[in-house]
């Protein structure tokens, strides 16, 4: 989990709790610290507390308990307009009765910045998002992607050190979303601003962030860089939430040299890396990524445990093949293989043997 006493922490949550009705805690004892310049994504299913955290940071919700600090100062009692945090909203919230330039000029006007200065800053911000010639348009005359850029420019025009984004790409189509993902991270890193980004789209979280905090049930389940999160999930929630995953239930038989021997419910034995199981005899959920499953027995280490599998379905997806197998009673076991010239296309009904490296298979909590 995050270290509490980080001295370079720019944004800090310390033992923060939030309840709306006095009965249910939406955010339970949250500790989080974000260093200056980091792009942090809060990822989680709806209702996991991620948006509430963002709103508390922005000042639209007050924490029921705990302390939120910005650059070392507690901001619990500072109203939102004095926090100086830029924010991009899910529906962009561009003021419909103002032109684009007026929208951008608004935060500068309320800060009583001079007219010429204001115009220069607005122009610069619009050029930054490549919307230079749209200053005199109304928001309704722009496409979704263009509105998105303007919303971004508006959140950045008054040069905040921290920018919050609440699912800003949710309304865009896939291609535009991928383009904007790249642009947003680029912009954030170039300007050196700290970004807290909320999304429920795990691909977005993985491609954009320096670190991802996975939320569930009011807790941060894991906070790590994307590669670590994907490859080394701390628990079965993270493993299942991030990316595609094959899971099988079983009982730990033996733990030795950092490897656990697991007896699956069907009786078969496999090797796995113990992550949060410690004792022999505990229930466990073993997890293996579809692309780490090996179907070619010759590539496995000698003596590795293998499982019998029956091919149920073969799906051609272009760059990869996706094969559905029945393994140890699980009909939804997926294997992804690269579309290479030497790759075999398995036929439904075929009986094969599969295996994997023990370190790719993680024994997690049941």
């Amino acid at each position: 989990m995050a270290d509490k006493s980080n001295d370079d922490a720019f944004v800090e949550f310390e033992r923060v709790q939030k309840s709306y009705d006095g009965e249910i805690l939406v955010v339970k004892d949250l500790n989080l610290s974000v260093p200056r310049g980091e792009f942090l994504t809060m990822l989680g299913p709806s209702g996991s507390g991620k948006t509430t955290c963002l709103m508390m940071l922005a000042g639209f919700e007050t924490a029921t308990h705990g302390d939120i600090r910005l650059d070392g100062t507690s901001i619990n009692n500072i109203p939102p307009h004095k926090r100086g945090i830029g924010m991009v909203f899910q529906n962009y919230a561009l003021f419909p009765h103002m032109t684009i330039a007026e929208n951008l000029s608004f935060p500068l006007e309320v800060r009583r910045i001079g007219k010429s200065d204001r115009e220069a800053k607005v122009r610069r911000a619009l050029e930054m998002v490549e919307m230079g010639e749209f200053g005199s348009r109304r928001p309704s005359q722009l496409s979704g992607g263009q509105q998105q850029r303007v919303a971004l420019a508006r959140a950045l025009v008054f040069e905040p050190e921290l920018v919050l984004m609440d699912e800003p790409l949710g309304a865009l189509d896939k291609q535009l979303r991928e383009k904007m993902q790249f642009e947003i991270t680029d912009l954030a890193h170039n300007l050196g601003i700290t970004t807290v980004y909320v999304t429920h789209d795990q691909t977005e979280a993985l491609t954009m962030s320096d670190r991802v905090a996975v939320f569930d049930d009011g807790h941060i389940q894991q906070i790590d860089p994307p590669d670590k999160l994907y490859e080394e999930p701390d628990n079965s929630f993270v493993a299942q939430f991030i990316g595609e995953n094959n899971t099988m239930l079983g009982i730990v038989k033996e733990i030795k040299n950092g490897t656990a021997l697991v007896e699956l419910d069907g009786g078969a034995l496999i090797d796995a890396k113990p992550v949060n199981v410690s004792e022999v005899g505990a229930r466990t959920r073993v997890s293996i990524r579809p692309e780490r499953v090996e179907v070619d027995k010759s590539r496995l280490k000698p003596g590795a445990h293998t499982l019998k599998a029956e091919v149920l379905e073969f799906i051609y997806m272009g760059d990869i093949f996706r094969t559905r197998l029945r393994v140890a009673g699980n009909d939804e076991f997926i294997v992804k293989t690269r579309n290479a010239p030497d790759q075999r296309r398995m036929q439904p009904g075929e009986q094969i043997e599969i295996g994997w490296l023990p370190e790719d298979c993680r024994a997690l909590d049941a």
Partner: protein, 558 residues
Amino acid sequence: MSDTTKTAKVLAADGTPLKRSLNRALRLQKMRALMLIAPLLLFVLLTFIAPIADMLFRSVENEIVSTTLPGATQRLDTWDASLGEAPDEAVFEALYYDMFLAAEAKEHTKLGTRLNYEETGISSLFRSSGRKLDDIGEDRIDVLEDLSDVWKDAAFWFALMSGPEGAAKDNTLLRTQRQRLTNLTDDDFGGDIGFEPSAEISALLPRTAAEYTAFALFTAIEDRKAVAKQKPWEAVKVALTEDLRRADTISALAGYSGPGAAELKAAQTAAADMTPLNFRDSFVDIDKDWADVDNWQTIQTYSPRYTNGYFLNAVDMQKSPDGPEFRDEKERIYGLLFKRTLFMSLVITASCIVLAYPVAWILANLPMRTANLLMILVLLPFWTSLLVRTSAWKVMLQQQGVINDVLVWLGLVDDGARLIMINNQFGTIVAMTHILLPFMILPMYSVMQTIQPSYLRAAKSLGATNWTAFWRVYFPQSVPGIGAGSILVFILSIGYYITPEIVGGTTGTFISNRIAYHISSSLNWGLAAALGTILLAVVLLLYWAYDKIVGIDNVKLG
């Protein structure tokens, strides 16, 4: 555009032009749509558009003078009022025959009432003259009837006027007389009446034939009696003596050999000895007001079929020989009423905005359940009769009413100096603001509901204080709701009637109360129509101005 549209018509699969094909396909849909709205369209046309058009027409329509007194108004054209003398004998002669027929049809009093709006006293002049018309030429009729009993005989008159069997008939005369009666009474005077004037007698005795034909038409159609059995009117006999005294009649009579030739010749001899009949003096004998130039001037001014008199009246002006002029300061009321109506409507609209805005804001920002509950409270007045609500204000505001009692009890107001809050402008404004408030709240609410809370949050995150966020971001977006509510309330209040009637007293009444008075009490529908037309024009003008300034596209009702 693609090349196909330029070079050749696009064809459908069967070779017909695509446009025609499309139109045919859509025609059925359009027809069905039209059929669906047809009942409403007809209903609106019949019950809304048509009455309004009729009402507007009444504000300029003025046919009653020229249809009731066709002959007199025609001859009055050349009369010059500035000479200061009543019109000449020809006008009075025409007036006698016009009035006689009008009096028989009982139309002369209507004309009297109409002209009385313009010149007081004309109503009684017409009424009394109608009763005494029989006096004119009475002695002549006596002479005629003393000469021979046949002049008292209905059948003789009928035979005289019809001419011998197979005689040529004067259908033109019959037609013009039918038209004269139709114009006068608005009834249908078509159909066979068992009488046709003979062409010979109508050439010989034109006036007599005309009046007898009018008598015959009226008797057969209005009274449903046989013409041959009814004695003709006095006017017919007077017309006969007049006709017989004319020089050309005297010479033509020598060659006449039709029915009653002998009696006519005898009557002609007697008529020659009669003293000339002066219609003008006879009318002045009945009522000396007939010599009054002002009365004649009024008749002349209002003899055209259309008049701007009602409109002039509605803006406190009147017709005069030198063109339209303002009335005396003391007689001007409509300008004041229009100004008061506009002013009070503006005050009511403004107070509605002030009161409704916070309510609509709360409604729009509360959770759905609570908002719905409060909405019922807003709508509750709609379920109560308007009369009850207005009367309730009477109870509240009167000098012995609830509010005054409380103020006196609290010692804020002395018992002897209770506040006057009803039967004046204040009472009207309070009651109408209350009654029209829902019309302001509802459009405001529906507009505010569409303003997402994220706009306010965005404004605050950008550094705006609560007030700036409201004033620069929320308020401009709620303006369409204010606009819609204002138009609704203003237009409703400008034509409001019941509430000002009950609580308005004398200083709090609207122009609509005056319109109602003219419709139901003074029966001056023309003036009421003119006032209504002006009111409609003012509303349309304001609507147009509003569209120019605010833009009607910015008005949202939901």
